[in-house]
């Protein structure tokens, strides 16, 4: 079980690496914003798997912190990356 979970964690990490290559190379800033989002999900998964493998029960608290902070960081990235004059969060029906 431990070996399997470690292997799963390494596997998720590798998929993240592959995704990261694509995102960071992305031609636009928006692609790069997705790198934070990617880590919000896959990073937490790898973290949980590694924590379960080594038997650290506190990894769930760590994942809680990371979930909250990753959401916040991703939003800050979007707000910072938006070109001046374009408000990303305006409701659709504002002409």
């Amino acid at each position: 079980m431990t070996e399997f979970l470690l292997g799963a964690s390494a596997f998720v990490l590798l998929t993240v690496a592959a995704g990261l290559v694509c995102i960071l190379r992305g031609p636009d800033d928006v692609d790069r914003m997705m790198s934070v989002q990617l880590f919000g999900t896959a990073g937490i998964a790898a973290l949980l798997l590694l924590g379960a493998a080594i038997g650290a029960a506190a990894v769930v608290d760590l994942a809680l912190i990371l979930a909250v902070l990753a959401a916040f960081a991703a939003l800050a990235f979007v707000k910072a990356g938006v070109r001046p004059g374009a408000d990303p969060a305006e409701p659709e029906d504002r002409a």
């Binding site: 079980m1 399997f4 979970l5 799963a8 596997f11 998720v12 998929t15 993240v16 592959a18 995704g19 694509c22 995102i23 992305g26 031609p27 636009d28 800033d29 928006v30 692609d31 914003m33 997705m34 989002q37 990617l38 919000g40 999900t41 896959a42 937490i44 998964a45 949980l48 798997l49 379960a52 029960a57 769930v60 608290d61 994942a63 809680l64 979930a67 909250v68 990753a70 959401a71 991703a74 939003l75 979007v78 990356g81 938006v82 070109r83 004059g85 374009a86 408000d87 990303p88 969060a89 305006e90």
Partner: protein
Amino acid sequence: MKGILDIFTIVAVAAGAFFFLAGTVGLLRFPDTFTRLHALTKADNLGLGLVVIGLLPQMDGVMAGLKLILVWLMVLLASATVSQIIARALRRGGPEP
């Protein structure tokens, strides 16, 4: 009982890992940013959900299991809103991908 739970964990985590792989393949192969955003958020969140379900039997105690589910729900909430906001930023501010 432990054997059945372990098999359940292995199956769920393997399925989750498969969806992460699918998300990354989508990320690499889809033509533009919108579709890649789609692949990223949907497949990866499903993968995380399956991983969480798979790890539930490995946690000791109900509190740990509940916290794990809370983590998944928060990531779902965050991913849903962040992907919407990224998509709008792309539509309104950036050049066409």
